[in-house]
């Protein structure tokens, strides 16, 4: 089970981290919502906390910001222990999930707040505020009050307010959740650009895997207060450490199998191979739907060193615009295969026979108890 040993508990040391969390634990009463969290973030890195609702992303972010104290563990920034430093002494910019704009101040005043606290001159403040507002395309709303803005506009003000202070660490709690698809794309690029330009170490909370994959240098996948895996988008996608990661990031087929004496895996009557030797008898096999090739004419299911082949019967077709999903039955297990659609789609029907093939490398195998 090589995959599991990679970074199962998130312990991965990198040289000279800018932000580090060591053995962080958070309990509310008797309930442990974060357990032994270890994480190191490089200077200027954009790291995503990705996970389902309630897995502890916001809690982790709030501990980094100093708004709540961990029950145990240590938080350090640039080697300095900040575990017991108040939020105002941490020089972090935080964008709240609920925006938390000051209702009694105009948009411009909101954005200026952090600069005023830092004692900048009026001219400097006006200058920076104008720049920050134009960055989020809100310069025309500078004199409005937050309640006179739409949700998406408020979210952008919150972003400008956190960015304008050029913090040493930027903490974003689902900062794009309320924007429409087009604006979200724009803001993603914007955040990424600004973050790169200023080299701000950024922790980005999201439950949107596309956001995490497309924007971030590394992704931390969390589940139930634990880190499942830390890795680059490529690693997370191609070499998920757990079945949870495999199914949470990207789509995947999941079928049960049995390991045989010669190291192959039996799925129904088919035998397949994987590059990862799983140590158990009962295993779960996962293959990404678009990594499977359909051969409608072949009859041979002869295996070779690099590819798995299995005979399948088409049971259902789902058309979803960009892609078409073929649902196949393989000895009682369902395999979904995705192909991008073409204008002249060849017509296949329920009951058609085909041979599915996919590379051994794309075959992810996990112990069945995970």
């Amino acid at each position: 089970m090589m995959h599991q040993t990679i970074k199962r508990d998130g312990v991965e040391t990198i040289g000279n981290p800018h932000l580090s969390l060591e053995g962080i634990n958070k309990k509310y009463g008797l309930v442990e919502v974060i357990s032994n969290l270890n994480l190191e973030v490089r200077k200027g890195e954009l790291i995503a906390l990705l996970g389902p609702s309630g897995c502890g992303k916001t809690t982790t972010l709030r501990m980094i910001a100093g708004l709540i104290a961990p029950s145990a563990g240590k938080i350090a920034v640039g080697g300095r222990d900040v575990t017991h430093i108040a939020p105002h002494g941490r020089d972090m910019g935080l964008v709240f999930q609920s925006y938390a704009l000051f209702p009694h101040m105009t948009v411009a005043k909101n954005v200026a707040f952090g600069l005023e606290m830092r004692g900048l001159s009026r001219a400097d403040i006006a200058n920076k505020v104008a720049k920050a507002l134009s960055m989020v395309q809100l310069e025309h709303l500078a004199e409005r009050k937050p309640r006179e803005l739409s949700g998406g506009q408020q979210q952008r003000v919150a972003l400008a307010r956190a960015l304008v202070i050029e913090p040493s660490i930027l903490l974003l709690d689902e900062p794009l959740s309320n924007l429409d698809a087009k604006l979200r794309d724009e803001m993603r690029t914007q955040i990424r650009d600004i973050q790169q330009q200023l080299g701000i170490t950024t922790v980005f909370v999201t439950h949107d895997q596309v956001e995490a994959l497309s924007m971030c240098d590394r992704i931390v996948v969390m589940k139930g207060g634990l880190i499942e895996q830390v890795g680059t988008p490529h690693e997370i996608y191609e070499r998920p450490a757990t079945p949870f990661v495999a199914s949470f990031v990207g789509r995947t087929n999941r079928v049960k199998g049995k390991r045989t004496a010669d190291g192959c895996i039996r799925i129904g009557s088919s035998m397949i191979r994987s590059a990862t030797p799983a140590g158990q008898d009962d295993v779960v096999v996962m293959v990404r739907p678009h990594r499977i090739h359909i051969d409608w004419n072949a009859t041979s299911t002869e295996q070779d060193e690099t590819a798995n082949r299995t005979a399948a019967v088409l049971s259902r077709i789902t058309f979803i615009g960009d892609v078409i999903q073929y649902h196949f039955d393989v000895d009682g297990s369902e395999f979904i295969v995705e192909e991008s659609t073409k204008k002249s789609q060849s017509s296949h029907r329920h009951g058609d026979k085909a041979v599915l093939s996919w590379s051994v490398e794309d075959t992810l195998v996990f112990g069945a108890d995970q």
Partner: protein, 277 residues
């Protein structure tokens, strides 16, 4: 909606209710313009003589000024005490603050007359009777519970997030309080100011025990006057009281909308609000 019969029914009911509640108060206005020697309705002649009598009545006028000064001082002191207190109770959750909150608000539950008697006994031995200081302290006992309740509710309804945002933007605790918490509490503060002022301005029961010939308030003087004489002077004094109350209500309404202010003080029972206004 306009043509809906139930909405018409509601309107008529509400109008009748209002008339029922307000008629006695409204009656005071015509009576205050009476030309008669005795209190009667309807007056047989009209004049401004009872307003002249009021202006010429040194005791009444000085009682009015005392009431005005007293209510102002009591209101300011109530806020100065209750704002930090409510912060300590709601935000800092200082140990024992729950107990202090209950202690401070207990006077609301006690029979006012017992409270007045207790204060009389204590103040008598301290020589505070019929002094401005004595009145201020006496009134604080009843205005503080209102101020504390209204402000605690108003603060409790504020989401912590704005204060957290401010501190993460670099504001020290005092700056967070001054620049974010306090302005956001404004509706509660306006409501508390109005309530304290009105409660103090027309307080009678406790004040009765604390006043004397040397120092008295307008409602108490009015009370004494009714006891000895039955002339329409009481009507003109009542008009003065009503106008003061209205002025406060209008100021609150202008600054933030009455319903909003009162809603932020909804922990205070409706009867006390009605009482105060």
């Amino acid at each position: 909606m306009e043509d809906n019969p139930t909405s018409w029914f509601m309107r008529i009911t509400v109008t009748i209710l209002f008339l029922f509640l307000l008629a006695p108060v409204l009656l005071v206005f015509p009576i205050s313009f009476s030309g008669d020697q005795i209190l009667a309705f309807p007056p047989s002649s009209w004049s401004l003589r009872w307003y002249e009598a009021l202006l010429g009545n040194n005791v009444m006028m000085s009682a009015f000024l005392t009431s005005l000064g007293l209510a102002s001082v009591v209101t300011v002191l109530s806020l100065i005490i209750a704002i930090p207190a409510s912060y300590a109770i709601v935000r800092l959750k200082v140990t024992g603050s729950e107990f202090l909150f209950n202690l401070f608000t207990a006077p609301l539950l006690l029979p006012t007359i017992v409270l007045g008697l207790a204060i009389l006994i204590i103040f008598a031995s301290m020589g505070l009777l019929a002094t401005f200081t004595g009145l201020v302290i006496g009134h604080l006992v009843i205005t503080l519970p209102y101020a504390l309740r209204v402000l605690s509710v108003s603060l409790g309804n504020l989401s912590l997030a704005c204060e957290e945002a401010a501190s993460s933007l670099g504001a020290k605790p005092l700056a967070v309080f001054g620049k974010v918490t306090l302005p956001m509490m404004a509706p509660g503060i306006v409501a508390a100011t109005a309530l304290c002022f009105l409660v103090s301005f027309d307080e009678v029961v406790i004040t009765l025990f604390l006043t004397g010939p040397r120092m008295t308030t307008l409602p108490v003087e009015l009370f004494h006057h009714v006891e000895s004489q039955a002339d329409p002077l009481v009507a003109s004094v009542s008009v003065l009281l009503i106008l003061m109350t209205l002025a406060v209500v209008m100021i609150v309404d202008r600054t933030m909308g009455l319903t909003k202010a009162m809603a932020s003080g909804r922990a205070v029972s409706m009867s006390t609000v009605a009482d105060a206004t």
